[in-house]
C-alpha cells in the first residue's frame, strides 16, 4: 500500500505518459501487492493459532485432561468453556491448545530434521555426482512410488506412537523434497567461478562444499521450510486420525477429531472446531511460504 503512494509522488514529477495509475496496475506492482497481501494474511492466520498455543499454560483454562462427567458435551460459549466440552467433559479449547503444543513441536522438529538430512544428501549428490548422486537419486525416485502413508503406519506400529518416532517418520517422509531442491541448486552453484577459484586456492572438495557452496544454497532451500511445516502438521494429524499419533501428554488435533467423529450428529463442535484450527494454521503457514517465495522470485527476476 505504501508502495502505491511513493509511486504517486514520483508520477507527478514524471513528464511521461505513464501515470501513477498505470504503474499501480502494472504486472510488477500487482505481483508485489499480492505477495504483500499473502504475507500479511499468512502472518495473521498463523499468529491466531500459534500465539494461544504457545501461551496455553499461562491462560486461565481448565486442565486439558481434567474430566467432569457432569458437564459432558456442552456446546461452545457455555459458562467456563469457550469452545464447549467433549464426551468426557474436558474443556475443548484447553485440549486444542495443549494438543497443539504437541502437534506444533512435532511439526517444527520434523522439518528441522528433514531439512538437515535433505540439505546434506542433496548437496552431496549435486556436488560430488557419481555414485553418491546415483544412490540419492534412486532413493528420491523410490519414494515417489512407495505407498507413503502405509509405510508410515507400519513404522509407527513397529516403534510405538511416541513423539520421537512420529517426528522421525515425518522427517523421513519429507526429506526428499528438500534434497531434490538442494541438489538442483547445487548443480547450478558448483559451476560458478568462485568454486573453481576455491579449488585452485587449494581447498578440498568437502571444504568448498561446506564453507562456500552450502551457505549459498541454504537461503533459497530454506524457503520450502514453511511449506514443509504445513505438510508436516497435516501429516501428523492424518496419522493421529488413524490412531497412530502421539497420545501423551496430550491428544493431538487429529486424535481429537477422530474421537469426536462418533458424536458428529449431536455435537458438531467436537470435529468442526479442531479441524478449523488445523486449517487456519496450515493456510497461514502456506500463505507465508507462498508470499516469501513470490517475493524472492520477483527480486531475482529484477536483478537478472
Amino acid at each position: 500500500m505504501s508502495g502505491t503512494t511513493v509511486l504517486a509522488t514520483e508520477g507527478t514529477e514524471r513528464p511521461s505518459q505513464v501515470t501513477a495509475r498505470d504503474l499501480a496496475r502494472a504486472t510488477a506492482t500487482r505481483t508485489r501487492r499480492s505477495a504483500h497481501v499473502k504475507l500479511w494474511a499468512g502472518a495473521v492466520c498463523t499468529a491466531l493459532v500459534v500465539v494461544p498455543v504457545a501461551l496455553a499454560n499461562l491462560l486461565p483454562l481448565p486442565g486439558a485432561n481434567a474430566q467432569d462427567l457432569s458437564r459432558r458435551r456442552l456446546p461452545p460459549l457455555s459458562e467456563g468453556h469457550l469452545l464447549g466440552t467433549d464426551q468426557l467433559g474436558r474443556d475443548l479449547l484447553s485440549r486444542i491448545l495443549h494438543g497443539g503444543q504437541v502437534s506444533l513441536s512435532v511439526g517444527v522438529l520434523a522439518v528441522l530434521v528433514s531439512g538437515l538430512i535433505g540439505i546434506a544428501a542433496g548437496a552431496a549428490a549435486g556436488f560430488f555426482g557419481g555414485w553418491i548422486d546415483a544412490v540419492v537419486s534412486r532413493f528420491l525416485e523410490a519414494q515417489l512410488a512407495l505407498p507413503l502413508l502405509m509405510m508410515l503406519l507400519l513404522v509407527v506400529a513397529l516403534f510405538g506412537p511416541s513423539v520421537t518416532v512420529i517426528t522421525c517418520v515425518i522427517a523421513v517422509a519429507q526429506w526428499p523434497e528438500v534434497a531434490r531442491l538442494t541438489r538442483s541448486l547445487v548443480l547450478v552453484e558448483r559451476e560458478k567461478p568462485y568454486v573453481a577459484a576455491a579449488r585452485v586456492l587449494g581447498l578440498r572438495a568437502w571444504q568448498v562444499l561446506l564453507r562456500h557452496v552450502i551457505p549459498n544454497v541454504v537461503r533459497p532451500a530454506s524457503l520450502v521450510v514453511l511449506l514443509l511445516l504445513a505438510q508436516a502438521v497435516l501429516l501428523e494429524s492424518a496419522l493421529s486420525f488413524l490412531g497412530a499419533g502421539p497420545q501423551r501428554p496430550f491428544a493431538t488435533w487429529g486424535r481429537i477429531i477422530s474421537d469426536g467423529q462418533a458424536y458428529i450428529t449431536t455435537s458438531w463442535w467436537l470435529v468442526t472446531l479442531p479441524g478449523l484450527v488445523i486449517a487456519l494454521l496450515v493456510v497461514g503457514v502456506n500463505l507465508l511460504g507462498d508470499g516469501l517465495r513470490d517475493r524472492t522470485r520477483r527480486r531475482k527476476g529484477a536483478g537478472a
Partner: protein, 309 residues
Amino acid sequence: MPTYLARRLGQSLLTVFLTLTTVFLLVRLAPGDPAAAYAPPSASNADLARIRAEFGLDDPLISQYWIFLRDLFTGNLGTSYSFHAPAFDVVMDRMPYTVTLAVSAIAVTTVVVVPLGVWMARRADTKRELGANVMTIAGQSMPDFWTGVMLLTVFAVLFPVLPASGFTTWSGLVLPTVTVAVLQLALVSRLVRREMVSALTSPYVTVARSRGVSEHALTWRYALGNSAVPLLTALGTRFAALLNGVVVVEVVFGWPGVGSLVVRALETRDYPLIQATVLVTATLAILVQLLVDLAYPLLDPRVRLGKAA
C-alpha cells in the same frame, strides 16, 4: 527406445523388489502376533503356537524370506490370515473400488484444473485472481479427513441427499470424489497457473503476438501446449499416489477399497495381505508413471526418450 523401455522396466522391478523386502522386514520386526488375530478368542496358548508353526512364523527370518521369494516367483503371495483366502485375490477384489475412486477424482481434477489454471494465469495478480489463489491455498490446507467428515455431516446427515458410506449406488461416489479432488485441484491448478504464467511471458509468445496470432490461440495452443508435459506429469504422479491408497478418505467413507483394507491388515498383522497390497499398489503406481513418461514424445516432439536432457 527398446533399450530405454528395458532399462526403465528393470529399474521399476528393482524398486518394487526393494519395497517388498523393506515391508517384509518391517512387518516381522513389528510387535504383535498374527496368530492372535487368526485364532478364535477362546484359543489356548497351544492353539496359538500350532497356528504360528503352521504359518511358518517360528522359522528363522532368513528362511521365511527365502520361502516368500520362492512363492513370489511362482505367483503365490500366500493366504491372508484374516480372510482365509489367497491374499492376491483379496486385494484384487478391493482394487476396482480404489481405481474407480482414483479415476473419478482425477477426471474431475483434469476437467476443472485446466480452465481454472488458465484463467488464473491470464488474470494473474488481479484482485479476483488473488481471491481464487487464496482459495486454492485453503484447499490444500484442509486435512482431507476433516473435509470428508464435514461433507458427510452436511450432505448425508443434515440434508440426507447422498449416502454416507459404502459404494452401493453411484451417488455414493460423489462425496469421496469431492473430498479427494479438493486437494488435487488445489495442487494441480497452482501448477498450471505457474507454468502458464511463465509460458505466456516467454519470448516466443511475444513474437507470435507481434505477428498477429490471436490471444485465444496464444493461450490455448501455444502456451497450454507447452505446459502439457508438466501438467501430465503432475496428473500422473497424483494418480499414482491415489492408487497407493486414499487411506484416510476410504476410512472416513467406509469405502471398500485397498486403503481401508490396509488399515485392517495392519491391525490384524496379516503379513501376506500387507505384502500383497504393497506389491499390487506399488506395481500399479510405477506402471502409471512409466506410461506417463512414454507419453511425453506424443505431447512434445522435442522429447526424445532415453537421451539425457
